[in-house]
């Protein structure tokens, strides 16, 4: 995904992390927008459920999306 793009969350590849992400509102079927990255490329900022969430790239990589 590129900054500014919107996608739909389809699932997670990490069992442990998925619980945290679900609780933070990253739900399958929910739209997510990639806002911008930190200056060094990591972490990144996404919008989900109407708020801004920052997470590391390796954490973001566990979220699968539908385009």
């Amino acid at each position: 995904m590129k900054p500014g793009e919107v996608a739909i969350i389809s699932g997670f590849s990490d069992e442990l992390l998925s619980v945290k992400l679900l609780e933070m509102g990253c739900l399958p079927g929910a739209p997510v927008r990639f806002n911008f990255t930190a200056p060094l490329g990591d972490p990144i900022c996404i919008s989900v459920l109407g708020y801004e969430l920052s997470l590391r790239l390796e954490e973001a990589a566990t979220i699968s999306i539908l385009n």
């Binding site: 619980v19 679900l22 609780e23 911008f36 200056p39 708020y51 969430l53 997470l55």
Partner: protein
């Protein structure tokens, strides 16, 4: 029950305005302590309900779910689940950011499922109106089966209504949002029977997070493990499914109660600011400009009040010295206790200014961006983006800095941050640096603008910072833990800070510093006073006669005589004897026994160095000289040259940069890490680093 005070817990997401609600309810009637057995800060306070009764309000750490992500968050589950605990609340107020109701309701439904009488306080109703959102609050209250109170914690509106609702009996909703899966019904029933619980979801929590429940004994834990094994369950199982189930329920609920959704799906205003503040060039430039401003303020604005406190306490000592009879107790008061208290109070201006800035950055939402900017760099060193705040604070004082590490969820990253923070040059090192730099670095300018002395001083700060980062890097590979490191942090919308919240933070942090660190500093300064004021044998007792004999040929003024007597006494006091005792050890570093005395006395607090030097070097010099001049004229009897050669002075500077000469820091590390392991390791490591570096510097330069 009626005789007991009502206990009310405040629960909510981070950034939901929980602390504003707490401040409104309790005012300055707050008490900061620790939850028993853990280092989580416990904030509680009193409020008067409309019926005239007092209620205790407990502010719990901000959480997104009952399932904890960090050690600090475990306390919430523990308190809510331990009915035997005196802290277990009678009622819970869930504070929700009404602009983000969906996420807040996840936590709310978990708490109502526990069967706790709950009130939902919808905060930030003003922002809701501005975003164009509108809720049917009656329907929301009916659907959830609990009272709902709209509030605006920034303005304080709705707080009276909230108190009103709290004081009345609260119905518990009849049915749960999340029902235990049929396979686990029997497991849950056996847990309920064993621990006499009256709620399925509560028993389910026992199975889900036995590690959070510190009140369980080994037998209880063993029982839970057996039940889990029997039914093929393990802690963490179904947590994701539960979240999805709850969100499905919440979505259906919201479809009915949201009359109008937000006008804009993504926040525009905040992202415009973020484009500048997290820009690859401007982002860092602005951050460093803010850092620079903070350090400037700490040193520039704090100077006047610090001087006032210094002279104020000197005046108090003098006053008591005059009006009280000259006894041992008086001297203990005027030379030990009062300067000891002064030594604590003198740091209050710097700590207050520092925390004013940190609170300002946190309140406005900028601090989350600092973490965002620095996370990648800090992670390379085994730290976390959140380590930036403690390291910054460490330049003022390591004590509040170490207390600020509590926001770091990951145990390893937090421990490393605590370990390296005292290497940041704190303000107590500054007087030592100033005097030694002035002694050996020429007062010249390079390139016309840079003062050599200023550069040397800055170099010492950088040296401390570099040592902190390198130590962290080494520890990253030495400390082995399996715990995973997360970031997953909300970037809250930018807001104007609420000044009263900043005021409360300053009061709270300063109070903690004065009480926690103060005890240790005071105790040690009394011990040191005794060591420096008493000595064994005839030489100490008849100091005056000895000085008079030795200086019979000199025409001394009365003050000159007094200072010589004082110096002579110090030389033959217990402190002096210790100084001479350690001379062989510190000789390779270029120090003599006189510096040894200063090292001993500054073990409790570094800034004592200057005062000790002032007393000890009053030997054999004229009266009207400054400490600096006296130190400059001191002769090394072995070489015939000056005692403070550049080699000795730089060696001493390096020693003070690295050495752990602060009892209060050790005490705080002990408290924060819950044991002696880390403070002792820290003491050993920093002393070794100081000794070896000083040795290298002295041997290279001389």
């Amino acid at each position: 029950m009626s005789a007991e005070r009502l206990k009310i817990a405040l629960v909510g997401n981070p950034n939901s305005g929980k602390s504003s609600v707490f401040n409104h309810l309790t005012g300055l009637n707050q008490k900061i302590g620790n939850f028993p057995g853990v280092t989580v800060e416990k904030k509680s306070g009193m409020t008067i309900l409309p019926d005239g009764s007092a209620a205790e309000i407990i502010d719990l750490p901000g959480i997104y779910s009952l399932y904890p992500r960090s050690l600090d968050e475990r306390i919430v589950s523990e308190i809510l689940l331990d009915h035997a605990s005196p802290l277990c609340p009678d009622k819970v107020v869930v504070i929700a950011d009404a602009t983000n109701l969906k996420r807040s309701l996840l936590l709310l439904t978990q708490i109502t499922d526990l069967g706790m009488p709950t009130v939902l306080a919808l905060n930030m109703m003003d922002l809701v109106a501005r975003a164009g959102i509108s809720y049917d609050l009656h329907a929301l209250s009916n659907e959830l089966g609990i009272p709902v109170v709209p509030i605006n914690a920034r303005k304080g509106s709705g707080i009276d209504e909230l108190k009103n609702v709290i004081s009345k009996p609260i119905e518990v909703p009849g049915k749960n949002v999340f029902n235990i899966y049929p396979d686990l019904k029997l497991a849950v029933q056996s847990v309920r029977d064993r621990f006499q619980l009256d709620n399925d979801y509560e028993a389910y929590q026992f199975l889900q997070q036995p590690a959070s429940l510190k009140f369980l004994n080994d037998e209880g834990r063993e029982f839970l493990r057996n039940v889990s094994d029997t039914y093929g369950f393990f802690p963490g199982k179904f947590q994701g499914a539960e979240a999805i189930h709850r969100y499905t329920f919440i979505q259906t609920l919201l479809d009915r109660v949201v009359l109008k959704a937000a006008d804009l799906p993504w926040k525009k205003h905040t992202s415009a600011i973020d484009r500048v503040l997290t820009h690859r060039v401007w982002g860092y430039l602005i951050f460093f400009a803010i850092l620079f401003l903070i350090f400037q303020s700490i040193f520039a604005w704090a100077e006047v009040p610090m001087d006032l406190i210094d002279s104020g306490f000197a005046a108090i000592s003098e006053y008591f010295g005059k009006i009280l009879p000259n006894t041992m107790l008086t001297r203990l008061l005027t030379e030990g206790v009062i300067p000891g208290i002064g030594g604590i109070i003198i740091f209050v201006p710097q700590i207050a200014i520092l925390f004013a800035f940190i609170a300002l950055l946190e309140e406005s939402g900028y601090m989350a961006r600092v973490v965002f900017l620095m996370d990648k760099i800090m992670r390379k060193f085994g730290l976390n983006g959140k380590s930036v705040v403690p390291l910054m604070s460490g330049v003022a004082c390591a004590i509040p800095a170490i207390m600020a590490t509590r926001t770091i969820d990951n145990w390893k990253e937090r421990t490393i941050t605590i370990f390296v923070t005292p290497l940041m040059s704190c303000s107590a090192r500054l007087p030592v640096f100033t005097i030694l730099v002035a002694l050996v670095v020429p007062d010249k300018f390079v390139l016309g603008v840079f003062s050599l002395q200023g550069l040397a001083l800055m170099g010492l700060y950088l040296l401390g910072f570099a040592a902190a980062m390198l130590t962290a890097l080494v520890m990253k590979y030495l400390v082995r833990v399996k715990e995973r490191s997360y970031l997953l942090m909300e970037l809250p919308a930018y807001r104007w800070p609420k000044w009263s919240n900043i005021g409360y933070t300053i009061v709270e942090k300063t109070k903690t510093f004065v009480l926690e660190a103060g005890k240790v500093i005071l105790a040690i300064s009394i011990v040191l006073w005794v060591l420096a004021s008493y000595g064994p044998g005839e030489k100490f007792e008849h100091a005056r006669e000895h000085v008079l004999n030795e200086s019979a040929n000199l025409r001394l003024t009365p003050e000159g005589l007094e200072s010589r007597v004082a110096a002579y006494k110090l030389e033959h006091s217990y402190a002096g004897i210790i100084g001479k005792g350690i001379e062989p050890v510190i000789k390779p570093l270029g120090f003599d026994w006189k510096i040894g005395i200063a090292l001993v006395t500054s073990f409790a607090a570094r800034e004592v160095f200057v005062g000790t030097m002032a007393t000890i070097y009053s030997i054999g010099s004229d009266d009207n000289q400054t400490i600096k001049d006296r130190m400059r004229e001191e002769i090394n009897p072995e070489t015939g040259g000056p005692r403070f050669t550049p080699a000795t002075a730089f060696s001493l500077l390096v020693f003070y940069t690295f050495a752990m000469q602060c009892m209060s820091t050790l005490a705080i590390v002990y408290r924060e890490t819950k044991g002696w392991k880390w403070p002792l390791l820290q003491l050993a490591y920093m002393s070794a680093l100081a000794y070896i570096s000083s040795f290298a510097v002295f041997q290279l330069l001389s």
